[in-house]
Subunit: 265 residues, 2 copies
């Protein structure tokens, strides 16, 4: 089984990409909806919550754990890896950083993320480790999270917010050529973001890059499912109905409230 | 001492109104920033969190407890009152409902609030108890919370969001004549909201009405401070720096991070 952990429903964009790359696998997804958002919380608190969630997922026979939340990936990977010594633990930051470094020609890369991810500077570190020449700009864009959760993903509000955050970066003469969507909510707003940055900028969606990274890791370790029909189990720490309603948009298929199991952390 | 409890910084609008009405009182404010927002969480979870916060505030010699959070007021007042049997516990819903019923001529009242407050139907119940003739429309407006926290309180985005929520209500022929701001964040957006609804609508800000209600309660009970200089103690369950930065806007005076004491619930 592959565990996928997120602070809420945003990680369903990662789950969707994983299920597309690995259709024969069994997934268990835990959204910590009782305590979201992680993006505005301190590193210590996020680490504590992430370890509790990891503990809940360890009830399942995991062969791999994906930390689909950028904020949790940014601050809690070492602690989670220590806890799950025998299972590969994959975050979304490293695959995103790798894809951005491969895509950028000019070395000017921008990352939009939550406050917590930006403050933790995890993308910065992961990108600099790969390419010392990169000039990185990391920008918190929390309104995108609220818009995605509200389903206001296109139209004048989404476009105005995209311009609000991105114009100062992309209207500059030496503008970035690559933009990393450093939050699992942001792929929902891809059209408004694309309209604001223009067609020339490469947009790196860490859901896609992480899914490919997980597939490669499982294959290299000889852990990939050989065939059969995959499955999905959904867990949430609060409000299964809201999870189902908003999650349906993120997963791009209907979720019924009774499919979502309530767990107490 | 007067305890003021909120899920985060939004309740500082209530605290500011309280300090203006009652300048000689000593206040202790607790923002549960580790677990905000409450507005999207289930009633059970909000009650549990509110009781933990109440426990922390009971360390102080309280003569009154104000539940500044609409969502917590909507679902957890009975549980908190049971816990604090000897101290008056005042929420923001009843004073807001009272003011709205007094203000409305046509009996058509609208409430904008968080999802949790709308789902709990507490305004509906409190208003109908006072005026059976009222036709109430309650609408969740969660993007306003995100905008207020981000400090995007005026300009094209705030106006577009105000129109997004309010036009369907106020463009109708039999439009409400009274609008209740049923979330402590919303007074921050008063200009954009006013622009969307027009000058004829009475806007009820529950911070003001609650502060007056608290003053009346203390006077009637003979508990009001007779004189002297008031004081303020700020507690948060996470991220004091963020509390200080964003809270400064809500309290309309600078807050230094070292003024905010971290408490663990």
């Amino acid at each position: 089984m592959i565990g996928v952990f997120d602070s809420g429903v945003g990680g369903l964009t990662v789950l969707e990409a994983l299920a597309a790359e690995l259709p024969c696998e069994h997934f268990v997804y835990l959204g910590d909806t009782a305590r979201l958002p992680y993006g505005t919380k301190s590193a210590e608190t996020v680490v504590r919550y992430a370890l509790q969630a990891t503990g809940a997922l360890m009830q399942y026979p995991l062969k791999c754990l994906v930390i689909a939340c950028n904020t949790a990936s940014a601050v809690s990977l070492p602690a989670i890896r220590e806890r799950m010594a025998n299972v590969p633990v994959i975050g979304v930051i490293e695959p995103g950083a790798e894809a951005a470094c491969a895509a950028s020609r000019s070395g000017r890369i921008a990352v939009i993320a939550t406050e917590g991810t930006v403050r933790g500077a995890a993308y910065e570190e992961a990108i600099r480790r790969r390419r010392a020449d990169v000039r990185l700009t990391a920008l918190p864009a929390p309104l995108f999270v609220a818009l995605a959760e509200e389903g206001v993903c296109e139209g004048p509000i989404a476009e105005a917010v995209a311009h609000h955050y991105l114009d100062p970066l992309f209207a500059a003469p030496r503008r970035p050529d690559t933009l990393v969507l450093g939050c699992t909510h942001f792929p929902m707003l891809i059209q408004a973001i694309r309209a604001a940055v223009g067609a020339q900028v490469t947009i790196v969606d860490s859901a896609q890059t992480t899914a490919r990274h997980v597939r490669r890791t499982l294959r290299e370790a000889g852990l990939a499912a050989a065939g059969g029909q995959g499955s999905l189990r959904l867990l949430a720490t609060d409000a299964p109905q809201r999870f189902a309603r908003i999650g349906s948009r993120f997963l791009e298929r209907p979720i019924e409230a009774h499919e979502v199991e309530l767990v107490d952390l």
